[in-house]
């Protein structure tokens, strides 16, 4: 068996807001993500799943445990661990092609070469003729594709996504999920996607990691043994949906109970 792409060992995270009691966001969280695996983090809001993603990216410090990528401890952000946000967060002062080439220009790739690379990647995400457009000339779905292209241009080993399709309408979201499966296959990267949508988790994941309410821990890990594409009318799909609904309902109840206490 090959070495995991990401290893999380006993991760803990405690926030200490000024002048208030510390908040424990994550507790003793351990998980391996294999190379090329598609993992979905599913959990109630506030369970620390996004925080964990930011810690894997190196943007947030862990307060307990260790994170390794390919055997090296994660200490700072790296383009090997790309991160995509709910908003595309493209720079409005750069054209789409320049946005995609931003990381390459930081790396010092010559101008003509990085434009070639950027246009190539844009073609592969279906934005071949959008290179010279401004970000605000694109639709929400196209902007999110461009954000994927920007991350892919750095050839990441792991691509992380923080509710990337939550701001899109339902039709666009379905299209974007197909698109995501396609770039996942093409790039060979591992994907970790955070969502609170059960359907999104079932249609995309190899494994779904269900979080408990705060402090977030691994409640259970459910492998999805269905061939893709996964039509929602499949009875096995329904079985998964019922299972996740029940798991999440428990946690939402607990979160409410805790808030009232």
């Amino acid at each position: 068996m090959s070495r995991p792409a990401i290893t999380l060992k006993h991760i803990g995270k405690t926030w200490t807001p000024e002048g208030r009691a510390p908040v424990e966001a994550l507790r003793d969280f351990s998980l391996d993500v294999m190379p090329g695996e598609f993992v979905v983090f599913l959990g109630p809001s506030g369970c620390g799943k996004s925080t964990l993603l930011y810690m894997i990216a190196g943007l947030e410090e862990v307060t307990g445990g260790t994170i390794h990528q390919d055997g090296h401890e994660v200490k700072e952000p790296s383009a090997e661990r790309g991160l995509i946000f709910q908003e595309a967060s493209l720079f409005p002062w750069l054209t789409i092609a320049d946005n995609v080439a931003f990381g390459l220009s930081i790396r010092g790739t010559p101008k003509l070469k990085r434009r070639d690379i950027a246009l190539d990647i844009l073609r592969s995400v279906g934005l071949g003729d959008m290179g010279d457009k401004k970000p605000d000339e694109l639709s929400g779905g196209m902007r999110q594709r461009a954000a994927c292209a920007r991350a892919l241009a750095m050839r990441p080993k792991v691509l992380m996504m923080d509710e990337p399709f939550a701001a899109l309408d339902v039709q666009t979201r379905a299209k974007m999920q197909d698109f995501l499966l396609q770039i996942w296959r093409d790039s060979g990267a591992s994907i970790i996607l955070v969502t609170h949508s059960i359907d999104e988790a079932i249609s995309l994941a190899d494994r779904v990691v269900v979080f408990t309410a705060r402090p977030g821990r691994v409640k259970t890990i459910v492998p999805i043994d269905l061939p893709r594409p996964r039509p929602s009318r499949d009875p096995r799909y329904h079985a998964y949906r019922d299972q996740f609904a029940e798991l999440l309902a428990d946690e939402v109840d607990r979160a409410f109970a805790e808030q009232e206490a």
Binding site: L59, P77, S78, I106
Partner: protein, 294 residues
């Protein structure tokens, strides 16, 4: 535009105008109508004897005898110097140029220094603690109140006028820079860090372009204050320029010259704003017109 000319017979000889030119003509037409109405009412008041031509000479009087008016301008950009102008346009342009130069220099230095100090205050905690209270204390002081200080320190000359324009924009740009840097979307900075940008690269390639549109708007809002201040400085602390001419014209009870100079100042201010907008369109090409920062 080109395909429709054949199908509409009566429009055959009318050259097709692009919508842009048509909009331009329309706004120029309304501009003329607006100014014409204003001047017309003024002229009418004069014709009815309601406006004293000695105090409020109507436009045809202060614009009518331009050669005589021009003799008040000279190459030293002041009234009463020995190098008396002979009614040519050059001394007028010379005077306008000096005043404009003071505004441009003051704005440029104030803007650059303001962004630099604002960035330092944001990034260096020691400087923030040391400088910010003083900046907050000094910022609300009217630039005009700085005039005596400027003259004490720099003497009579160009520098006090430039200094006053500098003061007009400096503090607002410092404070705007600090607040704008704080308002830069966190994800922009996350992207830069993930892509491996250093702090310096992040500032020049992410923070600066992100805050520039907002700062430019502050600059434009302060433009008219800068013009106001430069005229006062010229009247008091420089002794040359359009401000001095206006002040001398008032002292010598030359209402025609006052209004003529006012008209010149109006035209200059208008062209300035127009010029800044043009620079903005070129420099900040990604900001759509009418999107807050037009």
């Amino acid at each position: 535009m080109t395909t429709t000319t054949g199908s509409i017979p009566q429009a055959k000889h009318v050259p097709a105008l692009s919508p842009r030119i048509r909009r331009g003509l329309a706004s120029a037409g309304w501009g003329l109508a607006s100014i014409g109405l204003f001047a017309g009412i003024w002229e009418a008041l004069w014709a009815m004897g309601l406006a004293n031509p000695l105090l409020l000479p109507p436009p045809h009087m202060f614009l009518g005898d331009i050669p005589t008016t021009l003799t008040f301008f000279d190459h030293n950009a002041r009234i009463g110097s020995t190098d008396r102008g002979e009614g040519s346009v050059l001394p007028l342009l010379n005077t306008m140029l000096w005043t404009t130069m003071r505004v441009v220099l003051g704005l440029f230095i104030g803007f650059s220094a303001g962004v630099a100090v604002g960035a330092l205050v944001h990034y260096v905690k020691l400087l923030r603690n040391l400088l910010l209270p003083t900046i907050l204390l000094l910022a609300p002081i009217s630039p005009v109140a700085w005039l005596p200080v400027a003259i004490f320190v720099f003497g009579i000359g160009d520098v006090p006028a430039i200094f006053l324009v500098f003061i007009t924009v400096f503090f607002s740009i410092v404070l705007a820079t600090v607040s704008q840097i704080e308002a830069v979307p966190k994800n922009y900075i996350h992207v830069a860090r993930i892509m491996g940008a250093t702090e310096r690269q992040t500032f020049w390639r992410v923070i600066l372009p992100a805050i520039l549109p907002g700062l430019f708007m502050i600059l434009r809002l302060n433009l008219f204050a800068a013009w106001m201040v430069v005229l006062i400085a010229e009247a008091v602390g420089v002794g040359t320029g359009l401000g001095q001419i206006t002040s001398m014209a008032r002292a010598t009870f030359n209402a025609k010259l006052v209004f003529f100079t006012m008209a010149i100042i109006g035209v200059l201010g208008f062209s300035f704003d127009w010029g800044l907008r043009a620079i903005q369109r070129k420099l900040l090409w990604w900001v759509a017109p009418g999107q807050g920062v037009s």
